[in-house]
C-alpha cells in the first residue's frame, strides 16, 4: 500500500500521464520471453533448412575450431567446431529441436499423469488419496538422477527414455499442486451444486474440476519446462542423458565442460546461453501467467 505522494504533490492531477509500461519491467506483458520462446520453436521446426551442416558428422582434422571472430576461426564454421570436429552452430540449431521435443513431451507426460492423479486423489479422497500421496512421498526419496541411471541401465539411454524418466520423476510435483487445487475447489459452491444436482463424480471431475485446474496445470507446465531442460543437461553430465551423437544442448554442455579449463570456452558457453535463455523465458512466462491466471497460486 504505497501512501499518497509527498506533501507538495499531495494533489495529484489526473492529467499527469501514467508511467510508460517499460518493456523490461517484469510485471508487464513478458514480450521478450515470449519472443525468445517463439524464436527457439521456429528454429526447432526449420532446423533442417537452417543448419549449414549435418550435426552428427565431423572430422577430427578440423576439431576445436574457435568461433569465426577469434583468430583461427573461419566463417565456414561460424560458432566453431567441437571435440569431434562437428559444426557447433548446426548442433545448436538441431539441439533446439531435441530440447524442445524432450522438454515439451516430458512436461506433457508429467502434466498428464500428475493432473490425472492429482484430480483423482484430491476429489475422491479416501484410499485413492492415500495411495497417491504415499506414492509421491516415496517418489520424492527416489531422486531424478537415480531414476535416470536405473532406466538407462535397464533399457539403455535414448531420447524416449529420457522423456519417460523426466515425466515419471516430475509428475509428483504436479500431483501435489493439482491435488491442493482440487481440495479447495471441492469446497466451492458450484461443485457442491453439481453433486447435489446428481452429476456422477466422473462428469464432475471432467466438466467442473478439470477446467478450473487447467490454469494451474498450464502455469506449472511453463515453470516445469525450465526444470526439465536443466535436469536433462545434468543427466548428460553423468552420462545417462540423451545419447551421443544426437545434438542436445545438455549433452553439448556436458561434452564441452572439459573445454572450459582448456580455453575452448565456446563448446559449453553457447549451449549454456541457449539453455539459460529458454529456461529463463519459460520461467518468466510462467510467473506472468501465474499472476494473470491465479494470483493466489501459492504452492508453486
Amino acid at each position: 500500500m504505497t501512501v499518497i505522494t509527498p506533501p507538495d504533490a499531495a494533489i495529484v492531477t489526473v492529467a499527469s500521464a501514467p508511467r510508460p509500461a517499460a518493456f523490461w519491467r517484469l510485471k508487464g506483458f513478458p514480450l521478450i520471453p515470449i519472443l525468445i520462446l517463439v524464436f527457439i520453436a521456429l528454429v526447432a521446426i526449420f532446423a533442417d533448412v537452417l543448419a549449414p551442416y549435418d550435426p552428427t558428422i565431423g572430422s577430427l582434422a578440423r576439431r576445436f575450431r574457435p568461433p569465426f571472430w577469434q583468430e583461427g576461426g573461419s566463417t565456414a564454421y561460424l560458432l566453431g567446431t567441437d571435440h569431434v570436429g562437428r559444426d557447433v552452430l548446426s548442433r545448436l540449431i538441431y539441439g533446439a529441436r531435441v530440447s524442445m521435443v524432450v522438454g515439451i513431451t516430458a512436461v506433457l507426460v508429467a502434466g498428464g499423469i500428475g493432473t490425472l492423479l492429482g484430480i483423482l486423489s484430491g476429489y475422491l479422497g479416501g484410499w485413492a488419496d492415500q495411495v497417491v500421496m504415499r506414492l509421491t512421498d516415496t517418489w520424492l526419496a527416489l531422486p531424478a538422477l537415480t531414476f535416470a541411471i536405473f532406466l538407462a541401465a535397464i533399457v539403455g539411454p535414448s531420447e524416449l527414455n529420457i522423456i519417460l524418466i523426466l515425466g515419471l520423476v516430475y509428475w509428483t510435483r504436479y500431483a501435489r499442486v493439482i491435488r491442493g487445487e482440487v481440495l479447495s475447489l471441492k469446497q466451492r459452491e458450484f461443485v457442491r451444486l453439481a453433486i447435489v444436482a446428481g452429476c456422477s463424480s466422473r462428469t464432475i471431475m471432467w466438466r467442473h474440476i478439470l477446467p478450473n485446474v487447467i490454469n494451474s496445470a498450464v502455469v506449472l507446465a511453463t515453470l516445469m519446462l525450465g526444470v526439465v531442460i536443466v535436469t536433462e543437461a545434468s543427466l548428460s553430465f553423468l552420462g545417462v542423458g540423451v545419447p551421443p551423437p544426437k545434438p542436445a544442448w545438455g549433452l553439448m554442455m556436458a561434452d564441452g565442460k572439459k573445454g572450459l579449463l582448456v580455453g575452448y570456452w565456446w563448446l559449453t558457453v553457447f549451449p549454456g546461453v541457449c539453455i539459460m535463455l529458454m529456461v529463463l523465458s519459460a520461467n518468466l512466462l510462467g510467473d506472468w501467467l501465474r499472476v494473470k491466471l491465479d494470483p493466489q497460486l501459492r504452492q508453486l
Binding site: T2, P7, A10, I11, V14, P18
Partner: protein, 333 residues
C-alpha cells in the same frame, strides 16, 4: 452538542486511475463534511457508494491505484493533505483511529492479544513494554473483557467474534485518539452482541470525548447512535444534516427511499418501498444527477445538469433540484 469543529473535509475528491490512465473511477467526489469533537457522524449508503474509500482517504491509506485529486482535510486546524507520509503515519492510530469490519481477520493470528493491543502505545508513546502491557490490561478492562490479565496473553483464535471486535475497539482507543472511524463494525456480529458493542462504543465516546464516524448501511444503528448523518450515493454526499431532522423530513428522493425500505413495527401491512434499477457504474456515470435513472421524482433537468449541494438549513444540505427552492444560498462556492 456542536463542539468546535474537529474535522472538516472541503470538496474532497479521490479517484481510482486505471493502469493505462484511460478509466477513472470517481470513488469520492466533491465531499464536504464537518464533525465537532465528541460528535457522532453516520455515513450511510449502498455498498460501492464510496463510504470505505472516504474513510481510507481520511486515513490517507488508499490503495496504489487511488489518488486524492482535490479538496482539503482539516483536522484540528491542520490540513492532513499537507502532511508528509511520516507525519501522517504519526497521526494514524494516535489522533485518528479506525476499526475494520471483520474481527476474525483483523487480529494477527500469530501474536498475543496483549502484544497487539500494546503495540500502538509502544510505537506512538515510546512506552516501555512493561508499562504498555499494563495499559493493555487496563484497556481490555475498559472494553469489558472478563479476566483481562489471563486473556491478555492468549491468542486471537481463543476469542469469540464479539470479544475480538471489542479488542479491536481497545486497540482503536489505545492512544486516546480524538476521532475513531468505525467501518461497519457490527455487520459480522449477531444482534445481541451488536447491541452490547454499540453501548460500549457510546460509553467509550463519553469517557474519552471521542468523535465517532460510523460507516454503515444499517439505518437502525444510525438512528440509535448518530447525531449527524451523511447519505452517500455514487461517490457523492447527496444529503447530510442532523439525524432527527433528516429522519422526519428527508429531502433527497434516495434518502426517502432508504428510509422507506426499513420495516417498522408501526407500519402495518404496507409494502416496503424498494428502489428499482442497479447501483451506478462509477466509471461511466450518466450526465446530470447520478440517481436520475432510479429517481421517482426525476425531471429532464436532473438528467442534464448535476445539482449542486443546496444548504436548506444551517448544518443541513441536499444535492437535488427539489431542494433548490428551499436553498438559503447556493453552496456552489
Amino acid at each position: 452538542m456542536a463542539g468546535q469543529t474537529l474535522l472538516s473535509l472541503e470538496h474532497l475528491s479521490a479517484h481510482y486511475v486505471s493502469q493505462q490512465g484511460t478509466r477513472v473511477v470517481r470513488a469520492v467526489d466533491d465531499v464536504t463534511i464537518s464533525l465537532g469533537a465528541g460528535e457522532t457522524l453516520g455515513i450511510v449508503g449502498e455498498s460501492g457508494s464510496g463510504k470505505t474509500t472516504l474513510a481510507l482517504t481520511m486515513m490517507r491509506l488508499l490503495p496504489p491505484a487511488a489518488r486524492i485529486v482535490a479538496g482539503r482535510m482539516m483536522f484540528e486546524g491542520e490540513d492532513l493533505l499537507k502532511k508528509s507520509d511520516e507525519e501522517m503515519r504519526k497521526v494514524r492510530g494516535k489522533r485518528i483511529a479506525m476499526i475494520l469490519q471483520d474481527p476474525m481477520a483483523s487480529l494477527n493470528p500469530l501474536f498475543s492479544i496483549g502484544n497487539q493491543v500494546a503495540e500502538p502505545i509502544r510505537v506512538h508513546e515510546g512506552a516501555a513494554s512493561r508499562t504498555a502491557w499494563q495499559r493493555a490490561i487496563q484497556l481490555l478492562k475498559s472494553v469489558r473483557i472478563a479476566s483481562p490479565d489471563t486473556r491478555v496473553s492468549q491468542f486471537p483464535h481463543e476469542m469469540s467474534g464479539g470479544m475480538r471486535q471489542r479488542i479491536v475497539g481497545a486497540i482503536g482507543i489505545s492512544c486516546e485518539p480524538r476521532l475513531l472511524i468505525a467501518d461497519e463494525p457490527t455487520t459480522s456480529l449477531d444482534l445481541t452482541i451488536q447491541a452490547q458493542y454499540l453501548n460500549l462504543l457510546r460509553d467509550l465516546q463519553r469517557e474519552h470525548g471521542l468523535a465517532l464516524i460510523f460507516i454503515t448501511h444499517n439505518l437502525g444503528i444510525v438512528a440509535k447512535m448518530c447525531d449527524q448523518l451523511a447519505v452517500m450515493y455514487a461517490g457523492r454526499v447527496v444529503e447530510q444534516g442532523p439525524v432527527s431532522r433528516i429522519f422526519n423530513a428527508p429531502t433527497h428522493p434516495y434518502t426517502k427511499a432508504l428510509l422507506g425500505s426499513i420495516p417498522r413495527m408501526t407500519d402495518g401491512g404496507e409494502r416496503l418501498t424498494a428502489i428499482d434499477g442497479q447501483p451506478p457504474d462509477l466509471s461511466n456515470l450518466p450526465a446530470g444527477c447520478a440517481f436520475a435513472p432510479r429517481c421517482p421524482a426525476v425531471t429532464t433537468r436532473c438528467r442534464v445538469e448535476a445539482p449542486p449541494e443546496f444548504v436548506t438549513e444551517p448544518g443541513r444540505s441536499a444535492r437535488c433540484w427539489l431542494a433548490e427552492p428551499m436553498a438559503l444560498r447556493s453552496s456552489a462556492a
